[in-house]
């Protein structure tokens, strides 16, 4: 969770050079706490300005948490990569391309959906590997290498879809309808399509806790799979970073690649695996979105690389690498997603949308930073 080990220190507590500091302050000094505080502030702001608008009803929550979840899936990869001192600008293009890699075989080459999905993952991971290999091999900044892929993959999505299908939005081909294929493939559907916990939601609806449709089922169908992925990937990423050798390597590589190399950490391997993982996150995003939208399109994922970096930075990751938190990045995604969508629940004139988005972001981050430095211990 934190870049620091969570275990208690073995040092004697009665050291004459240690001041008494309350446990509350200690808690507040954890890097996630700032992001959590920022999140709470944003919630509070919306509670005041959009309290009665349904933003905090079950559907409302599902609504904005889905946006946060999609972003959060990417933020995990972006945060880990950033902690290791690299960027991936090809994320958004990869999302579009991975969607095409899934939809074209499934719709036009007659492959079963599961095979098309596996294919999309395989090609995307290979591209992630290539990204990483080029960065490590040429020593160029990852900014430039992945920028090239930002253009190349976006271009390929367009070119490939036009060549194979003549269209740029693919949702079906004759009898084959992508939406139905997702609904009928049990495995892929289980992982990527629709909602989970629908029973719980319906039960709650019957109990009158949340709003129901005419037929008695819940208006909020359930917990979207995207949210499940978000939680799962965040938990996995946080676990890896805090508890495993790999996590230690990631921090070391980003903190000082030279020192890491000198103590024998396989810097190249660490970086390449993180680029592959980032590609994995992008592909998860792509498949979830194709399943949800029932179509793949060449323009999917526009600017997502940017938003993923934003979420990671809001969550406290250092742009220069070496420090950050996956849980923080998840909160960053939540803040960004909630602000983006929440403004729609307030009665703010749409012309001012971006102005408020910017202001809320600034306030959230300032507050987050204030909390972090106010209560930071042992740091300057």
């Amino acid at each position: 969770m934190t870049p620091q080990a969570p275990n208690p220190a073995p040092a004697a507590p009665t050291d004459d050079r240690v001041r008494e500091v309350s446990p509350l302050r200690k808690l507040m000094s954890r890097p996630e706490f700032g992001a959590l505080a920022g999140t709470l502030l944003v919630i509070a702001m919306f509670a005041v300005s959009a309290g009665g608008s349904g933003m905090f009803s079950a559907e409302g929550v599902v609504n904005w948490s889905t946006v946060a979840a999609y972003l959060g899936v990417l933020a995990v990869g972006a945060a880990l990569l950033m902690i290791a001192g690299e960027f991936d600008l090809s994320v958004g293009s990869m999302i579009g391309f991975a969607g095409m890699l899934l939809a074209i075989p499934a719709l036009y080459w007659g492959w079963p959906l599961w095979l098309a999905t596996v294919f999309a993952f395989a090609v995307a991971l290979a591209l992630g590997w290539l990204n990483g290999w080029l960065v490590v091999r040429t020593g160029l900044p990852s900014f430039i290498v992945t920028l090239a892929f930002f253009f190349i993959l976006r271009g390929l999505s367009l070119a490939v879809s036009v060549i194979f299908t003549g269209k740029t939005i693919l949702s079906g081909n004759g009898d084959l309808v992508l939406r139905d294929m997702f609904a009928t493939d049990p495995v892929i559907s289980f992982f990527f399509h629709g909602y989970t916990l629908t029973g719980v939601f319906d039960a709650l609806a019957r109990m009158g806790v949340i709003a129901a449709r005419d037929d008695g089922t819940a208006l909020a169908t359930g917990l979207p799979k995207a949210v499940v992925w978000w939680f799962a990937l965040t938990a996995a990423g946080a676990f890896v970073l805090a508890r495993t050798r790999m996590g230690n390597w990631i921090q070391a590589v980003g903190g000082d690649a030279n020192a890491a190399k000198n103590v024998g950490i396989p810097v190249a391997r660490v970086k390449i695996s993180l680029f592959v993982f980032m590609a994995f996150c992008s592909t998860v995003f792509a498949v979830l979105q194709v399943a949800d939208a029932g179509s793949a399109a060449a323009d999917r994922g526009l600017q997502k690389e940017f938003e993923a970096i934003i979420a990671a930075v809001i969550g406290g990751c250092l742009l220069t690498g070496g420090y950050g938190s996956v849980v923080g990045a998840a909160f960053g995604a939540l803040i960004f997603g909630m602000v983006q969508i929440g403004i729609g629940y307030t009665s703010i004139d749409n012309n001012w949308y971006r102005v408020f988005l910017g202001l809320m972001l600034l306030i959230a981050v300032l507050f987050n930073n204030y909390i972090r430095t106010r209560f930071a211990l042992g740091r300057r």
Partner: protein, 316 residues
Amino acid sequence: QSKIALISHAPDSDSWWNTIKNSVKQAGEDYGVQVDYRNPANGDLADMARLIEQAAAQGYDGVIVTIADYNVLQSSIKKLTDKKIPVITINSGTTEQSEKLGAIMHVGQPEYEAGKGAGMRAKADGVKSFLCVNHYATNPASFERCRGFAEAIGADFKKSTIDSGEDPTGIEAKVSAYLRQNPTTGAVLTLGPTSAHPTLKVLEKAGLKGKMWMATFDLSDEISKGIKDGSVKFGIDQQPYLQGYIPVAVLATMKSTKSTDLAAVSAAVKANAKTAARFAEYGLAPAYGPRHIGSGPGFVTKENIGKVEKYAGQYR
């Protein structure tokens, strides 16, 4: 072989322009000319001006441009006319602007009128308030569609428009937030497939599919399905195929017949067998005028969807 360039203002992610790309390709095949489609990658008009100047430097035999913004493009289009390159304007912009720019003809139909036309139909259905889902808010011209619609039904244009962004998940969330916030909204207008698909999902999830009045610009597989099952009242079809095909046909004919008589050229295009076959196959109906040719608004409804459906997103 003569070379023609089509320069649009659309970012290359916009799916509507795919139809135009396909149409110029086919027109090129039919008339034996090479057509280069060019666009500013991000949809920045200043970049588009550079592309037009570039076409002038390259010395094309004819150039087709959209009048995304009259003022921005004025001086660069002059570079074309200075070099005596025939220019045809398409898509947005008005015929007056086209004439002032020295273009030989205009094929298309202004955004505001299209929005207004749709609004008039909505008004007839008793719609009084609406939501305009604009996925392309960074292009100011797109707001004209919403404005036209709003003024037709007498709604407040600013309050009824949202800047939805292009990401389907975000669009879905924002539309559903708006509808939640404004439960009395009577109708939804989307500006293209990018915003129409997520909006349809919102309606479906909220149990409003088929109940909420909805119309959209442009066509896609999904939209034609919606039209068929009644959840979408109509698609406003600008017949993009015509906007690409006709100018190429005209320019190619002018070049091959060495004629500048527009009426004669138009007639020749009209009479061309290949052209007629294409239009018949895709169910297109251009409105030939004395100088300009209209390409819309065609309203695709339940009644005429049959013919269009097969080619939606490709040639329609």
